[in-house]
Symmetry: C2
Subunit: 375 residues, 2 copies
């Protein structure tokens, strides 16, 4: 019996409220998944990640296969034990980072060979090997290997990559071998071409997956292009399976995508932005490097449910950022992850009460009103 | 009435068990003070520092006067509020870092002028200004400004610096103005010359301080020189006041100094060593960069009272160190600070039961026996 299931509990326009059940716990959707690149969500203890409200993490196959190695993680008890995170983990296929980080890539029908960006060693990633690696990591939600290209691109090139990704989807399904305790997600490709996206979605649906991701977005295109693709493609996806928008995004992207029927998100942005002194709040994004915070005794947001937003002055956080103290990265990463969870939690509640449109509008209005006035 | 007092509750040979009471809480001695250089114990939340057992932190006047500035910290409510640490803070005088970090120093009878290592701006530190800064920081234990020179040094040079430090001690006492809610500590100088150290101790005692520090050690001399100086000088210090060995040290230094009558310690070593992949344990120091840990599923020490020593495998910690993940610095700093607290807590208990010598011997024997055998 399949142990990973999706239950849709409410809809509000195109926005959806649901739950993914897995043997390692449930995932309330819409869900934001913090990224634990190399076996750690940067600058956070696993329990601190959980306390922000995260139900699931994302692990990067590319990073983990190179260091410490998938077989090593398996022999150490799997990724959950390795990093002391008991709840579900989704792993990507490794394909995206092969494109963005590795050197001397060679694509073929069989897969991709590349040299590690760490030590130059040669590796091969095929659809089958990607499934094998993700199984060794003991992932709960496995992604098929796909080819992700940058936008804008020629139609012919988008078509070639989409067709290859579809053949790899088929091989992934076979290699996955219908493991009961895990899910396998297919990935819709096709760039910004509606015809290609539709063919990709149809092809994946006829193969049959436990969830459907939209890939190849958040690769440099304007937000309106991303939203247009979602408008076109999400209605083509099976409604009884989760819809996952890979690598997205900023809070405004997430609100827009939830309103277009997306259930799951992941992005390094909140932790990376935190390490660079930016925090996301109900007032919008605040740059703590800015000298306006130097003497500001006020906390980030005294009405926030997050203690870190209330306990430290902006002056202190400015100081930590300016002195490049690790504690600054720790606090600001936590604030951002907590705000992202607050955002998806707010969306979930709003969808349940059929007021998602109002929630999104109110949230955006608060961002637009901006930060507290300068002292 | 004086609100900072010292009570000696037990002695065992030269080792002492005591308690410093302050308006912000008590400090059990022998005490190890983690160093919060620039308003943060690196890579640790304040509550995590407290959970290791620390009763008091050390703040660096030099770093804080340059960034964010003492007047700014005062206007933000003082250092405790600034960094959200409610318990006592000892601040150094700034003199040591002026010597080790700043540029273009100019010493005079009046004080020292120097250029900031951060932005080249010119600053002056006099005994009076140092007291003023530490008062602005709202320090609970204030240190006099002294001149600390490197060893080995000429007798004449050590004498000059000691005499200057003694005159500065007198000016510090006047400037301190007997504030009831804070303590002022004098600093014994005199290098490795017994006659100079004795004259320094006598001079300070006749001025009268709330505590007596031994300065000018841990500046590159062998441990036996440090221990010899302690053997000579600690008996010259008033027994009814705390004895503080500044900037020391490694666990073995601390054991040796407790056995010679020292009550208080501070050192950046545990947090710095943690950031460099070294952890201190009952097995001695373990270098987690070492490839022997790559496949080791065992925790650092499964019998440790510290959860971080039990929950993560050595392989995981090795991975975090090799990938230079912030979480590695966080975990290993915590492990080291917790071990240092475990060490002084063990010493306190042993002194109470008159078995400090056995405790020190057993602890050293366990370090000498070394780490777990390789898997």
């Amino acid at each position: 019996m399949k142990q990973v299931t999706f239950t849709l509990s409410a809809t509000d326009g195109k926005a959806r409220r649901g739950r993914i059940d897995t043997p390692r716990g449930d995932i309330q959707t819409p869900a934001f998944m913090p990224v634990g690149t190399a076996g750690t969500v940067k600058a956070m203890y696993p329990e601190q990640v959980r306390e922000t409200g995260a139900d699931i993490l994302l692990g990067n196959t590319y990073h983990l296969m190179l260091r410490p190695g998938a077989e090593r993680v398996a022999s150490l008890g799997g990724l959950h034990t390795f990093m002391d995170w008991e709840r579900p983990i989704l792993t990507d296929s490794g394909g995206f980072q092969v494109m963005s980080l590795s050197q001397l890539r060679k694509m073929s029908e069989r897969g991709v060979t590349f040299k590690s960006h760490i030590d130059g060693s040669t590796h091969e990633l095929t659809p089958e090997r990607s499934i094998e690696i993700q199984t060794l990591l003991d992932s709960d939600i496995i992604m098929q290997l796909d080819e992700c290209i940058a936008l804008p691109a020629e139609h012919k090139e988008m078509e070639r990559a989409m067709e290859l990704s579809l053949r790899w989807a088929d091989r992934s399904k076979t290699a996955f071998n219908n493991q009961a305790n895990r899910a396998l997600f297919g990935i819709v490709q096709g760039g910004d071409a509606p015809d290609l996206r539709a063919r990709s979605a149809q092809g994946l649906t006829s193969i049959g997956f436990d969830g459907y991701a939209v890939g190849g977005l958040a690769v440099g295109e304007p937000q309106e292009v991303m939203f247009r693709v979602l408008d076109e493609i999400v209605p083509e996806l099976p409604t009884d399976r989760p819809h996952y928008l890979m690598g997205v995004g900023k809070p405004d992207d997430i609100l827009g995508a939830i309103g277009r029927g997306i259930d799951m998100f992941d992005c390094v942005h909140p932790t990376r932005a935190g390490r660079h002194g930016h925090v996301y709040t109900r007032f919008g994004v605040i740059n703590l490097k800015n000298a306006r915070h130097k003497d500001d005794h006020r906390p980030i947001d005294e009405a926030s449910p997050n203690r870190n937003c209330r306990r430290f002055s902006r002056a202190y956080l400015h100081h930590l950022v300016k002195t490049e103290e690790i504690l600054g990265a720790m606090i600001l990463s936590q604030i951002n992850l907590a705000y992202y969870q607050e955002l998806v939690q707010g969306a979930r509640t709003a969808i349940e009460s059929s007021r998602f449109t109002d929630f999104a509008a109110e949230t955006r209005a608060a961002w637009a009103a901006g930060d507290l006035p300068t002292l």
